[in-house]
């Protein structure tokens, strides 16, 4: 059991290292598409710099961006996954290992004492969300590295129902033009529509975790995603707020039925270097990297 536990720690630390050094396939593909389609000269130079950074990160085996963020885990835990009791401990040890080895930047600051903990562990950090999957013996791990700059535009608000989708657009677009310009666009945008500020915010994060290019299964929501995407792109804030042909890598929306008296909206943004990953670990501890298939990398 001790050996197996150590193996799981190593797998998750290796996973975190991969996410820090390489973009997920969806972000990588879309970024290249936008770079290819960019018409403005200065904007092209910015995209070239981004692509050069990705190449150097790969060659030198270093994190793409110095801000490796606060590590947030979203777990789908099979109820028959054999290491279910140790997951929190395993993840914490994996983070400490990756912080030292990769290295990741130690980001966690005690909210009251204000000191940096030095190892990316702190009160209620890492953030871990558990979803149970009945009768499964797999563990699916989604990791999001929440950087500071790209988290700054994030917010949620409860609108009046009569403000409608127009009100949601106003809230999202105004936030993007005021704050998104500094958050390293082209951005990944997650929007959550629900009842209260909290659940709408959580839904917006879930939306952001869905790969770019995979539309919401609900056709009406999928259409809305395209509409937001086209309209945000018409503002042309990317790359990096200098202005260009586009604004976003993609817009994903997740919804929940709302209270008749409220229209909650949450907004989460990621930068051009949105770092996220997804991996499945089977009960025999074989792991499959789902988000970075182009690397042919074995975890």
């Amino acid at each position: 059991m001790i050996n197996e536990k150590q193996k799981l720690i190593d797998i998750i630390a290796d996973f975190a290292e991969t996410v820090a050094i390489y973009l997920s396939d969806d972000v990588y593909k879309k970024l290249n598409e936008l770079a290819d389609g960019e018409k403005q000269e200065n904007a092209k130079t910015m995209y070239e710099c981004m692509l050069k950074d990705l190449k150097l990160a790969d060659e030198l085996h270093r994190p793409i961006c110095q801000d490796t963020g606060v590590l947030q885990f979203f777990l789908d835990v099979g109820t028959k996954f054999p290491y279910i009791n140790d997951l929190k401990d395993i993840i914490e040890k994996a983070i400490v290992k990756a912080t030292e080895k990769t290295p990741l930047r130690p980001n966690i600051v005690d909210p009251i004492g204000e000191h940096n903990t030095g190892n990316n562990i702190g009160c209620n950090t890492p953030y871990i969300e558990y979803n149970l999957v009945p009768d499964s013996s797999d563990l699916t791990v989604k990791l999001y590295m929440a950087g500071g700059g790209c988290s700054l535009p994030g917010r949620s608000k409860v609108l009046m129902p009569l403000e409608g989708i127009e009100g949601v657009k106003k809230f999202v677009y105004e936030t993007i033009t005021e704050w998104g310009v500094n958050a390293c666009p082209p951005l990944t945008v997650g929007i959550g529509l629900g009842t209260c500020a909290a659940t709408s915010a959580v839904l917006s994060k879930k939306a952001l975790l869905r790969p770019i290019g995979i539309r919401n299964e609900n056709e009406d929501i999928a259409k809305l995603e395209e509409e937001f995407e086209n309209e945000l792109n018409s503002i042309g804030i990317a790359p990096l707020g200098f202005g260009g042909t586009n604004s976003v890598l993609g817009v994903n929306i997740e919804c929940a039925g709302r209270h008749p008296a409220t229209r909650g909206v949450g907004l989460t943004t990621g930068c051009w270097a949105t770092r996220k990953g997804e991996m499945v670990i089977h009960s025999d501890l074989n792991a499959e990297l789902l988000s970075h298939k182009r690397l042919k990398r074995k975890i």
Binding site: C49, K52, P63, C65, T68, G149, C184, G236, G241
Partner: protein, 193 residues
């Protein structure tokens, strides 16, 4: 040809630069984030190994690694959001005599006014391009205020042709990002009824 600003930065070197111009910088510079600014402004402290007068600061918090001999080196060092320092940058310029502020995204009116009054510029390095930036670092000179933690400490660096840097506030107080925002907000009006 590359336009390179060198230390010590005279007013003449930056006077004719306009927003949108691309420049590079060679010389010493210190990383300053929120807490570093507070050390200078509230506590009156200054870094020991570099001179800020006619010098440069970089809004950044690097990843610092250790090589096989135990020596520290800069792994990745992209810029952080400059706007967080808006409340105190004008005072920083006045107190220290810095002429070049490098960061990410834009800054606001108060900083633009100070740039005009004291002869300084703000430049944006492409955000997220942290390994590109690390390649421009020639030497890690020292580190002040380690108690602030790795991101917030003041890392003293020697850089060569650090850039590309896009001038975002010039010595006339023109402001690229605020101008851009006006354009974006005009476009926004067409989208919201």
């Amino acid at each position: 040809m590359k336009k390179v600003i060198t230390y010590p930065i005279s007013f003449e070197q930056i006077r004719d630069l306009k927003i949108g111009d691309t420049v590079y910088y060679s010389g010493p510079m210190g990383t300053f984030r929120d807490s570093g600014h507070a050390r200078v402004i509230k506590e009156g402290l200054l870094p020991q190994n570099i001179d800020l007068r006619n010098g440069a600061i970089y809004h950044a918090g690097p990843i610092v690694g250790k090589d096989e001999n135990g020596n520290e080196y800069i792994v990745s060092i992209g810029p952080t959001t400059s706007r967080r320092m808006e409340s105190c940058e004008a005072e920083m310029i006045e107190k220290t005599g810095i002429r070049l502020i490098i960061g990410k995204g834009g800054m606001m009116e108060k900083t633009a006014k100070a740039c005009k009054e004291f002869g300084a510029i703000h430049c944006a390095f492409p955000g997220g391009c942290a390994v590109v930036a690390a390649q421009c670092v020639q030497k890690l000179i020292g580190c002040e205020w380690r108690d602030l933690g790795m991101p917030e400490a003041c890392w003293e660096l020697e850089v060569k042709e650090f850039g590309p840097l896009i001038v975002s506030i010039d010595t006339n107080g023109n402001n690229l990002f605020e101008n851009n925002k006006k354009i974006f907000n005009e476009r926004l009006k067409n989208l919201i009824k």
